[in-house]
Symmetry: C2
Subunit: 229 residues, 2 copies
């Protein structure tokens, strides 16, 4: 038998909003309100297309499209208003179909997983209970890293929490920003449609596979090499 | 000079929601509430992807995806609940950037246009004032036709209102359902990103051109052969 380097067992790092919980619309509406309060009226679709980026990049991105300019203070103010309006809506956020079952199954078969989100810890932490997972589950948020997506920091930190090489992780996300960040982390990016992006957009951002939602990912885990060990 | 059949001058038939007014999220939320009230819990993205279809096809389509079945009475009930919840939110609906200017420009240069929507007249009519156009502007709604999109009836009726051959019209819409209905009406389908679909989805549904929103369409009218006459 030829001797060869053994590949590492799989490990998963999940995005949160639009990937495990159905919260993208709440974020969109919270951003629309926050921007209106600082005098910027934006169409909903332009906001949706940038959800999942770091809040700072998000505000600068939507402004570039509208030709407006803001000071650093105004960008910070918009981010704080968004966080406030999102917290007002957090009660309506539900897990996506199959998300609790997917995380429970990975735990059961011994596949390590973490959650890595561009959102703040105080918005993300309450989601753990709704997902039916332990309060001390590996969670990396905006508060833990220097730069959010599409920088790779969140996924690199997620892999570090799990004690695995980032290049051996599968990163699961719903936005092109997740997939761009996954590539920069040298991880395998998998896309979900549940955040509202189209399949073609995720494939063009080089998703390795695209599934509808966590429920379809769960029944397709064999495609990603997950076995009972 | 060779004699040849003269092509007809251009005429436009516009979808309303997501094409001229920024109302897609209000429709999504109204559908989510309506379906919850009849015991169906659906992810937001599945609803968004079917917005713009006829209400009946919409309900059957989302149910097929979830494996549920409803009686005709329950389908009607869901449609009525959606209409009620949408009317509660209609105050927050604004014109998309460039929509009033686009319609005013077409009127000014003598290009006929109509609006054709899968929605009901009582939801659509109040939008005419917000778009800055006359109350008697050509408007076809769900109430006027046997079948809504993706059937071609709405666009055929729109062309008839204008007194032009449907094959000589440019149909402008934001969803794949608009583009499928445009082809069945033998019209030229043009896509807008302002309803939240991705460019690739609209191109795959054979959009002749895709623009960001009415503002970009307005500055690109030369690409569609619109001239001052």
């Amino acid at each position: 038998v030829t001797s060869y380097p053994q590949p590492a067992p799989p490990a998963f790092v999940f995005d949160l909003d639009g990937t495990l919980v159905d919260s993208v619309y709440q974020h969109v509406i919270a951003w629309q309100e926050a921007l209106r309060e600082i005098g910027i009226d934006l169409s909903v679709w332009r906001i949706h297309r940038k959800i999942g980026m770091s809040g700072g990049l998000f505000v600068r991105g939507v402004l570039r499209e509208t030709g407006r300019n803001l000071t650093d203070d105004e960008v910070r103010q918009a981010q704080e208003l968004h966080a406030k309006h999102y917290r007002e809506r957090i009660g309506g956020v539900r897990p996506l179909p199959g998300a609790p079952e997917l995380l429970a199954h990975l735990t059961e078969v011994g596949v390590p997983w973490a959650i890595a989100t561009s959102g703040q810890r105080r918005g993300a932490f309450p989601m753990l209970a709704r997902l039916g997972v332990a309060e001390d589950s590996p969670l990396v948020t905006r508060d833990d890293v220097s730069w959010a997506k599409p920088d790779p920091d969140l996924f690199l930190a997620g892999a570090t929490l799990l004690g695995v090489d980032p290049a051996d992780t599968v990163v699961v996300g719903d936005s092109v920003w997740d997939l761009l960040a996954a590539r920069r982390a040298r991880a395998l990016g998998v896309g979900l449609l549940s955040g509202g992006y189209g399949r073609e957009e995720l494939e063009r951002a080089q998703a390795y596979r695209v599934y509808a939602d966590p429920a379809e990912l769960l029944i397709s885990l064999d495609e990603l090499g997950v076995r009972r060990r």
